[in-house]
Symmetry: C2
Subunit: 439 residues, 2 copies
Amino acid sequence: MAAGRIALNIGMFGCGTVGGGVFELLHSAKKVAQLDTLGVKAVVSKICVQNLAKKRDLDGFSEKTTTFTSSYDDILNDSSINCIIELMGGVEDAKDVVFKAIKSGKHVITANKALVANFMPEIAKLLEENPQVRFGYEASVCGGIPIIHTLQNAYSGDRITEIAGIMNGTTNYMLSKMEHEGVAYDAVLKEAQDLGFAEANPSADVDGFDVQSKIAILAKLGLNSIVKPSEIPTVGISRISTADFEYAKMMDSTIKLLGVAKLLKETDPEKGTPQEIAVYVSPVVVPHSNVIASIGGATNLVNIRSSNLDSSAYVGQGAGRFPTANSVVNDVIQLARGESPFDPFKSTQPAVLQPNYEAHFFVRITISDGVGIIRAIGQLAEQSNVSIYSILQAPITDRKRVQFVVTTDQTTVSRVQEMCDNISKLSFVQEAPLFIPIL
Amino acid sequence: MAAGRIALNIGMFGCGTVGGGVFELLHSAKKVAQLDTLGVKAVVSKICVQNLAKKRDLDGFSEKTTTFTSSYDDILNDSSINCIIELMGGVEDAKDVVFKAIKSGKHVITANKALVANFMPEIAKLLEENPQVRFGYEASVCGGIPIIHTLQNAYSGDRITEIAGIMNGTTNYMLSKMEHEGVAYDAVLKEAQDLGFAEANPSADVDGFDVQSKIAILAKLGLNSIVKPSEIPTVGISRISTADFEYAKMMDSTIKLLGVAKLLKETDPEKGTPQEIAVYVSPVVVPHSNVIASIGGATNLVNIRSSNLDSSAYVGQGAGRFPTANSVVNDVIQLARGESPFDPFKSTQPAVLQPNYEAHFFVRITISDGVGIIRAIGQLAEQSNVSIYSILQAPITDRKRVQFVVTTDQTTVSRVQEMCDNISKLSFVQEAPLFIPIL
């Protein structure tokens, strides 16, 4: 075996959609031949599952090489296992398993975005204490897009200033349907649920929590800043209506749910001030001229702005059995070939998270028609120091429920929020205005 | 210094646009601090240039650390130099320098696509004989897109079936102008030359030779097949007219100059037959629904189809000082951190290059108007066994020079070529038909 290479004896936690895919990619005869030519030796010798009785049809399975267990310790205490693949999901048990594995010197590969996003500092510390352990998490963000490895490697000599991405296939599918077929939110959600795209409880997707974990991870790798997912301002898509797409279309734009991480101010070594960043999850108005607008359906995209490369984008499947399994297996291959990075999270810089980020905003206001409305809203905008850039009004069909859109000049979230709070109090206003940033 | 890391003492060949950028990224104070945090030690101690007298303004330059020379041997025979960066361009001298460097145990980083594309087998053999030497060539294809590292790593457990990309910014800029502003080919070429985008002799760009080298390199990494650039069927953009864009638009499509590498048939171990591939460079009709169509201006894109990931795309700047320098520096960082791949070209499989690839074709025919034309062309199509899918005719403005487009069902290049040769002989046909594939 060549220098640096490791023969991997793997314990896998979880054997669902992705786990089955990983097993097949590592064990089916054809794939094993392919790995052999790469000098990769990797065998999944134990699989930990909740239900031992369940029949599993795994391509390449042999009882001689692989056994099932329902006990975590059966893998964690097995000194012949030098690598675990964690595909359990959830945070509590997964954290226990991963932390114990690192402490016992086992390499870890995980697809668990919530675990990584919430415990990067703790994991980094454990890795420092166990420097021989490698940690791979390519599968935790945007399934089939190799965004983790790319951020670990392709920007090392560069300075990233912005990461913005479509990182949730379910909501992008829903928004695309709403845009192109004019289907209302509730109907498109039901359809996504019927197709198995969205969960019975769709909150993680539609409320943006899935993207929250992912952008926290990318912010760490791209901007070197630890951001607690729970501190990221997060707005989901549940208030987006087909009317919003009509107004976006007037602006030659569409609406996408994005995770965004932006460098606002560099560290100032003289003043000793840390870098300032903004990280948020929100539906965003995206001009059609931006490649992000062209990504429909369940596809994901991550767009990165940096000082050397200007703008680069990475596009691919965001989820699914083989895209995600492929990312897990890439970590396996990298590890087996001794090519894993020494510091998977890269260095950390102190940073201030600025929740009150600046943008142009799209504000949709719903009223019963009347006179003096524009004047009243203009007054409230002025009062909150918000400069109005344009007012868009589609032909009115129902005078009792009129929607129109105000776009603002560059301003802060807090000013727009204040303006909208005041607008909500106007007698002719029917609901709190919806406001989302414009890219 | 951590295990596996190498302190690099670099000799650089060439110091033009990219070389200056590389020097700055490795030597300007701010960048050095950034590299320090990565544990990267890399100094360019000698630079070989043709003209020693030329004044060079390099950020971070100090005579104490860096000297200029005009002698190759001054670097090649310097045993303290353990890495060369080759940015000379051209093939003959660059080949001498790179081969000698490898033989004397120096690591090599190059941006030279023609060198890599034409001498991969020879370089691979030299690397086998000098296993301690690492070879980086990220900058040789699509400047700022990390496509080489991505193909080296992200698809190791996957099977790539197609690579198709916009890999030349100059021609993509020209085609975008022709499409959106209706500017004729000659005028847009002159404009690109005036702007310094296109060379005085634009052949490498407009005749597709630049893309030829790049797709040869990607075909090796993606399909494991060595393809001689000179054997790749290559058609440039010089015959594309604004009329072609009008017809493409009728098909809800546009026209892009693509490099394409496709797996046609897998290796059959039982029959002992090698894999069959098609590699070509040609203007291609691309539907607007494909992300490739959305890439305008000088931006590059590489789209990869694979069995695990379905379709993924990588978008970014294809050329320019800092995008290209960034790729060179990424190779430097990877090398300094001991994370370079052991086999930069990956394994090689025997392959048959099938020049007679299949596609739907777009055939533009120019005639003086008359009767019986469609019948005559239909007859010639039938004679060559080409099935016609549609006939598109814009309103006729000049009856002496009428252009129309025939699209075909799936057929082979040779059949379409034969049909077009026969069509050329018809009395009312004014010039050889233009035929290009449809994606």
